[in-house]
Symmetry: C2
Subunit: 361 residues, 2 copies
């Protein structure tokens, strides 16, 4: 089948670009001796997790237990649950996953320590203390509270303190200039490690790293592991952060113009149920995607099934014409699709089911 | 099972509120003699479409052929495809649905007439001309172009001109005062009907109506049919438009606080994959949802699995505590879930599969 024969809207994946993205990150990881543990939240497919392992990743990262279940059932054996499990149901499900896979857990509260301890139930679980180094999402402050939580982990039957984990979501390529987020992060991490040393409390591992911060991981002293996700496909956000080029964007939404009746605009058959409404993070450019070949054409509004494209002066599009659009945020977009279509050139190579789509619990 | 036993995040539906919403719209429809053809894009479940028919709806509306397939396979027999079909694959699928159900089609281009004509293939398809009465999405201008398209439909074997269809997405309860969108709509429709009359071209039916415009449908002379969707559940948008009260919001997202480690905020276990990132349309209030019982608490940011709640002064939330949040846009939120949980009081009544979720093609 050729791309022209695919029904739209459809998410299409350029497999050569994807492979190149995977190899480039693996090479960086190898060059700097920082273990790669990709977050599967972006692709949500065991087959691509296995490809990441084939290229040198030493395990994968998941957020929700539903993702851990899908991945471990597909034979993935080394997972980090980068999300605090809370409550009896999560303990029960984590215990079941532990029968199939090694699972480390990152957490930031006594409640999550208790849940993880109940999950261990005779097994041993490596546990990271999540610290907040500026992203202000999860994570205890990098001070005595982190040591206290590490001690609680060590004191809990079945749990081993595995080290410190952080999410550097606030660190981007433009960190230099007036943006000193990376320097602050390194300083805070260093002071915390001194505190652990003063307490004679060993910190076995340090895990960090997102896609935009990936090129700077080697500048973080002591970092053992990085967990980027988006790099496998890239998107308009990573493009705007200058974390990739347009040619390194592996995923597009293939859409069809279904109406040009209203002057000055056309409507395509993908809207918020195809692209997601996730906003463009950086920069001042608006809209919901980058139209390949038409950089000036703005996808300025969406309903669920309607994408509104503003036509630049002199541009006309016919009903039935197809466009490829790079979404703002590929992780949210993949989550809306049941399948993606890998392709090379004009040839569609098959259909990949997104097994962990929608595993939000 | 009780609500307290449900794993989070989960979408929960208050069945009594839903039933009341359905009855209220059906009563309005009956009182004014305007046929009700609800859009199933909101709930995406045949069981709820059937309930709408039981209460007096005379058919349903769908957007994509995938929705038409799910609904017709479940025994729904009278559909409007409120979306122009374009291309051979859509013609083939529409033809298959026609074997199970009456399907009317709304469209606004010669290309869509051609596709629909190919789909007819011996059957007869009632076709509406979609006109743009101000929403500026799909629809030809309300002038000679509409008459021309109606003539083309009549001239196409298998197709019957069924009338005029419009989407009044720009008409809201605050239309009075400085907002004259409804008056303009009525004027433009009236002039177009005069044009059809001057051409001696009968217009059998006129179909319009969204949830926010629903209370004003009887003020549109000649309107035969209304197609609201959101009213079954309502959401923060319809609340802000004053189309409903908070008590009439039937759907909430049940979420759990999973971190309170960063001062001034807590993180809940639902983010953009639970709520969707759909923005709040009207008003000046920001955020991604209304936290029931905490009107001052802002869900100010989301990652895929993290909802960031800003704590008002003096409010503290424990890890493990549960909250119910009304999403900005219920249609986009439902599309993210595989199931919803109907409940009455504290009792969970079962689990409803969202059969037409993700049917974007």
């Amino acid at each position: 089948m050729r791309l022209d024969d695919l029904e739209t809207p459809a998410m299409i994946i350029d497999v050569d670009v994807m492979e190149d993205n995977l190899r480039r990150m693996a090479a960086y990881s190898g060059r700097h001796g920082i273990a790669l543990r990709p977050h599967i939240k972006t692709h949500k497919m065991p087959r691509l997790a296995r490809r990441q392992l084939d290229l040198g990743a030493h395990g994968i990262t998941v957020a929700k237990l539903g993702e851990a279940e899908v991945m471990s059932e597909a034979g993935l054996e080394d997972l980090m649950l980068a999300y605090p499990p809370i409550g009896e149901a999560k303990a029960r499900r984590l215990r079941a996953v532990l029968e199939r896979a090694r699972v480390s857990v990152s957490l930031d509260s006594e409640e999550a320590v208790a849940t993880t301890g109940r999950a261990a139930d005779g097994a041993r679980i490596p546990v990271f203390v999540e610290i907040d180094l500026g992203a202000r999402r999860c994570g205890v402050p990098p001070g005595p509270e982190a040591v206290r939580l590490a001690r609680l982990i060590e004191a809990t039957p079945g749990l081993d303190f595995e080290g410190l984990m952080f999410y550097p979501g606030h660190v981007h390529p433009d960190f230099d200039g007036n943006n000193n987020t990376l320097e602050n992060l390194v300083d805070e991490l260093q002071r915390l490690l001194e505190l652990f040393a003063a307490e004679k409390f060993p910190v076995p591992r340090i895990s960090g790293g997102s896609t935009p911060s990936a090129p700077y991981c080697h500048l973080i002293p002591g970092l053992d592991e990085m967990r980027p996700g988006t790099y496998i496909f890239n998107d308009r956000n990573t493009l705007e952060w200058k974390s990739c080029t347009e040619k390194q964007c592996a995923a597009s939404l293939l859409v069809t113009v279904i109406s040009n009746a209203v002057p000055g605009r056309v409507i395509v058959d993908g809207g918020s149920k195809t692209f997601s409404s996730d906003p463009l993070g950086p920069g001042t450019r608006k809209g919901h995607g980058l139209v390949r070949g038409y950089p000036e054409m703005i996808l300025f509004f969406m309903n669920e099934e309607h994408g509104f494209l503003e036509l630049p002066p002199g541009v006309r599009l016919k009903v039935g014409q197809r466009l490829r659009v790079i979404p703002n945020h590929i992780c949210g977009a993949v989550n809306l699709h049941d399948v993606v279509f890998p392709y090379r050139g004009q040839e569609v190579l098959g259909e990949w089911t997104i097994e962990a789509r929608g595993r939000i619990r």
